[in-house]
């Protein structure tokens, strides 16, 4: 029942919420029980999402596991959930990082545990709802709802300037989304529905070119602030730096993806004319973001701030891939979003572990940590390499696909992107060198303990995924093929050759066993290799 096609998304969505209610009933002051129950539901949230792995029908165009009910007939809003390849991957990423974030808080959070785990679980439901919603009103509700728990996570459990960072985060992201609300209403008055599927299914955009311009910008601010694209990124370093470790992991790993997801899900298919028109601006902003974010990283004295700025640079790669509007660019962008969740999530976990041991994040306080913490050093190295795009690790696949996709359109874009990769290697390796290598200059670092079992448990899944995506990314490409195909033919109907009708939509495949309906992007990938 709970896992039938029509219920599984509800199950995934509301498991964390149920957890939050259960925690609500356990009286305060029972820290240990809250920890256990919180972790139980964190893990359960991941477990109930696993059936999607084999139930998701790869290659089938359109949305799967759709739930559609009347919700507010007076305003025509429905309760509609459903996922396609893109949201499938992001849902899986969310449930995984959610479980890891909760596990990583075991020792780090020792005040007001009840509220902490309740908020983390509420946040989880909010984020999953954003990726699953197929109704504009529902989407907007989830989009805003998840700001509140994040505000508390930063504001209550953050470090010194937490209040400032929390309200800054809230106001920045809200500023973008309120304009999107007007955009959603404007869509309703043109399309006369809040149903995302109906609006997306229209073969040509429902909106006139003039209206598209307005709507594109209304949605742009919401998404660009979330990503965050240069110059809307200033909330991010503060929020990331002040947030507790789990908050940073969720922020970097999932929250930022809402922005890129929004571009892919809404802006691109709904406003094609405006997208083409403003594409250059988007690309330029992305390239500035890549280079600027990387340069700023070089100057940071605080580990967490450095990684925060590296997110600006890495997420700018994702927007570059999106606005390249080629299959490889788009596929690479989504894969890079997953990668960024894995690598940057991992890096934030690592900083969090150092912070728990030393209660500082200053780079100059560390040095030579590889000696007392060899296991830590190894895993940190793998995650650093994955983040900077080393072949055999996940980051390479995403960045390569994005650059390849951008190269198809304009060689200069790819060239600037490559500069970003070089800079990325520089600041990440330099950080690693300053923290891990050399002699121990600070006596406080001499007897740091290496990773314990719980810390291994939080990092190992990320390392395994990094290798898996780095070595055998084909399943990801296959999952993304159908949705990307649908997107690209909107812009370039001739791209896939003579038959413009999407083969993906005519022959629904069945799970991993079925061959991918369209191998084009895969083939291109292999040629590139």
């Amino acid at each position: 029942m709970l896992f039938s096609d029509s219920q599984i998304l509800n199950t995934i969505l509301y498991t964390p919420l149920v957890g939050a209610f259960v925690l609500l009933l356990i009286p305060r002051g029972q820290g240990a029980i809250h920890r256990w129950v919180g972790n139980l539901f964190g893990f359960l949230g991941l477990a109930v999402s696993l059936p999607l792995l084999w139930r998701f029908r790869i290659g089938q165009a359109g949305f799967q596991f759709v739930v559609d009910r009347q919700w507010i007939p007076s305003i025509g809003a429905h309760y509609t959930l459903g996922i396609d390849g893109i949201s499938f991957l992001l849902v899986m990423l969310t449930t995984l990082l959610g479980a890891i974030a909760i596990l990583s808080s075991w020792t780090a959070i020792r005040k007001r545990e009840k509220e902490y785990y309740i908020l983390l679980l509420l946040l989880q439901t909010g984020m999953l709802g954003v990726f699953m919603s197929l109704d504009f009103v529902l989407f907007y509700m989830f989009w805003e709802v998840m700001l509140v728990p994040m505000y508390f996570l930063i504001g209550v459990w953050g470090s010194e300037r937490r209040l400032y960072a929390a309200i800054k985060f809230f106001l920045y992201t809200l500023a973008g989304s309120v304009l999107m609300l007007l955009g959603i209403l404007a869509i309703y008055f043109t399309a006369h529905t809040f149903d995302v599927r109906t609006v997306l299914a229209a073969p040509h955009s429902l909106f006139s070119a003039h209206l598209q311009n307005w709507l594109f910008w209304a949605f742009f601010f919401a998404f660009a602030i979330k990503v965050p694209m240069f110059p809307f990124h200033t909330w991010l370093p503060d929020a990331h730096t002040e947030a507790p470790t789990a908050g940073s992991v969720i922020l970097a790993g999932v929250l930022l993806k809402m922005g890129t997801y929004g571009f892919v899900r809404f802006s691109l298919p709904m406003f094609p004319d405006a997208t083409v028109k403003f594409r250059t601006i988007m690309i330029v902003l992305s390239l500035i973001g890549i280079i600027y974010g990387a340069l700023v990283c070089m100057m940071q004295k605080d580990m967490k701030r450095l990684i925060a700025y590296s997110s600006v640079s890495h997420m700018a790669f994702c927007t570059l891939g999106i606005f390249a509007l080629t299959p490889l660019g788009l596929t690479g962008s989504v894969i890079q979003q997953i990668n960024h969740g894995i690598s940057t999530g991992g890096l934030f976990l690592i900083v969090g572990m150092l912070y728990e041991r030393r209660h500082t994040r200053k780079i100059s306080e560390f040095g030579g940590l590889a000696t007392p913490m060899p296991n830590f050093a190894a895993i940190y190295m793998i995650i650093t390499l994955s983040s900077l795009g080393m072949p055999l690790l996940n980051g390479f696949i995403g960045e390569f696909a994005i650059l390849r996709g951008a190269f198809e359109v304009n060689k200069a874009w790819a060239a600037w992107g490559v500069v970003g990769i070089v800079l990325g290697a520089a600041y990440l390796l330099w950080l690693y060198q300053r923290v891990m290598f050399g002699n121990i200059t600070n006596p406080a670092n001499e007897f740091l303990v290496d990773l314990n079992v719980r810390e291994f448990a939080t990092l190992i899944p990320l390392v395994l995924l990094a290798f898996w995506i780095g070595i055998y990314p084909a399943p990801l490409f296959r999952v993304l093929d159908a949705p990307v195909h649908q997107l690209v033919i909107r812009y370039d109907p001739a791209y896939y050759g003579a038959q413009p009708a999407a083969p993906a939509s005519t022959q629904p495949g069945r799970a991993l066993a079925a061959p991918p309906a369209n191998l084009h992007s895969l083939a291109a990938m292999e040629r590139g290799n």
Binding site: W71, V145, A166, L174, V178, L182, Y188
Partner: protein, 492 residues
């Protein structure tokens, strides 16, 4: 037929139409009589009587719900029972019941536990009900004064408190002045039409030439009087002082019920009498709305007193509600009705938390009194969070749906600039509302006392929170109720 026979016949015929008010008045007077007989420790009988009065009145009101299109007129067409009245009647009664529940412990702490308090509340509710029911300028004006005079007394009810006296005096002076202005406008309407009946006036107004000076003069004076009552800029100055000085339950009552009643009057007059000359007032109304949002939301940022903060925020909310009237289409009016209905619950809820903070020796209405509330009384902190989210318009709360409807109406009627302004004023609102949240959840508790929630307060808080969340998550029944209230004005 002699006059007295006519009156008797009218009364016999129309008595059931005013039964809800009669019951309220009856129970109010019963309290006045009873209060003499009660010892100091038995004052809770007053509360019980007042609540009973509200319940009886609500039952009578419920029986009036099934109405023909256009409603039923009574007393020589000087009152009209229509869905509009039933809708607002329920808001008044719900607000009255909430405030009665919130007052019990508060009055004990203030040591002002007199029966007159509850009697005056019921009397003011009588005024409000007639305000929503009246179809005649004289009835409306009398109703307004019944309500207002009860409020003047109630806001000065803490005789020994300087702020309460100051607030009451300001309220009285400015209120009397604005009533005078309103009466002047009414007299002009009478001059235009030769009748005090709204239907007759509406007919007379409809045939006036466009931009008629006399009509515009009446419009300006009536609007000024009404803007004072709803505390819209530039007639808002009384609100912060009165809110701060009045007993907190009365501040809640003013901000919720009195405001709803004044809106009922405003809507009835603007949607019937002045509807034909819409072009003449839409511009002014949008200016007033934007000014209210601006001043309310900007001035609230710097407040350190919670009641003053809520006063300024309520000025901002008035701006949003007026925008629904500016849009003026079905969706906009539905939004106005929905907003007023739900605002009654979440604003009363916010005041209720302040009332919970009131303890012996601690006034509890400063922002700093909230510090560390989550440690001292987590339930109150969570409830306050729900109310604050709703006030700020964050889903999944009623406040969000209300604002959504207003934006919807503005976009539908092509008021894009107003929509953008309205939507952006959510940002300062979130900023100052979240100062409340920060004080509750982040600041360390200065005093470690644990405010206790009394049973009466618990019922009121639970109702308010349940309504706030229900109208946010599943707003359909509330939307239907709001639409039901609008069966009237367009019908005539």
């Amino acid at each position: 037929m002699p006059l007295w026979q006519h009156l008797l016949a009218q009364t016999r015929e129309g008595f059931w139409l005013i039964l809800p008010q009669v019951q309220l008045a009856f129970f109010g007077m019963a309290i006045l009589l009873m209060d003499f007989l009660l010892e100091k420790g038995q004052k809770s009988w007053n509360v019980l009587t007042a609540l009973l009065g509200v319940v009886f009145s609500a039952v009578s009101l419920w029986k009036l719900r099934g109405l023909p299109q256009g409603g039923i007129a009574g007393f020589d067409n000087s009152i009209v029972v229509d869905p509009f009245f039933v809708f607002f009647g329920f808001i008044f009664l719900a607000a009255t019941a909430l405030v009665i529940l919130l007052s019990v412990k508060y009055l004990e702490i203030e040591d002002e536990n007199h029966g007159e308090y509850y009697a005056l509340m019921l009397f003011s509710a009588v005024g409000m009900m007639f305000l929503a029911e009246g179809n005649d300028l004289v009835v409306l004006f009398l109703a307004l004064e019944i309500m207002a005079i009860a409020f003047y007394v109630l806001s000065g009810f803490l005789r020994r408190d300087r702020r309460s006296n100051e607030g009451a005096l300001k309220y009285l002076l400015l209120g009397a002045f604005s009533s005078g202005v309103l009466a002047y406008g009414f007299s002009l309407l009478y001059g235009i039409s030769g009748s005090t009946n709204l239907d007759a006036i509406a007919d007379a107004v409809a045939v006036r030439p466009p931009h008629d000076f006399l009509l515009l003069l009446s419009l300006a004076t009536v609007a000024a009087g009404l803007f004072f009552k709803i505390a819209a800029v530039p007639f808002h100055q009384w609100a912060p002082d009165v809110y701060e000085g009045a007993p907190t339950p009365i501040a809640a009552y003013i901000s919720v019920a009195s405001k709803a009643a004044s809106f009922a009057l405003l809507l009835r007059i603007f949607l019937t009498v002045y509807w034909p000359v819409r072009v003449d007032w839409v511009g002014v109304l949008s200016v007033v709305a934007v000014a209210s949002m601006t001043l309310g939301n900007i001035a609230a940022i710097t407040q350190t007193n919670l009641k003053r903060l809520l006063a300024y925020s309520s000025i901002g909310h008035v701006g949003y509600i007026l925008l629904g009237l500016v849009a003026g289409n079905t969706r906009g009016l539905q939004g106005v009705a929905f907003y007023i209905l739900t605002y009654a619950f979440f604003n009363a809820g916010a005041f209720a938390v302040i009332i919970v903070l009131r303890r012996k020796g601690i006034i509890g209405d400063e922002l700093d009194d909230l510090n560390g509330l989550v440690e001292r009384n987590p339930t109150a902190a969570v409830l306050m969070l729900i109310f604050v989210l709703s006030l700020a318009g964050i889903p999944p709360t009623a406040g969000f749906v209300g604002k959504l409807l207003i934006f919807w109406a503005l976009i539908e009627t092509n008021h894009y600039i107003l929509a953008v302004i309205a939507v952006l004023y959510i940002l300062p609102a979130v900023y100052y509302y979240f100062r409340i949240v920060a004080h509750m959840w982040v600041r360390e508790a200065g005093d470690v006392s644990r405010p206790h929630i009394s049973p009466g307060q618990a019922v009121a808080l639970a109702t308010a929170a349940a309504m706030t969340l229900a109208a946010g998550i599943y707003p359909e029944p509330f939307l239907r109720f709001a639409s039901y209230s609008l069966m009237l004005p367009f019908g005539r």
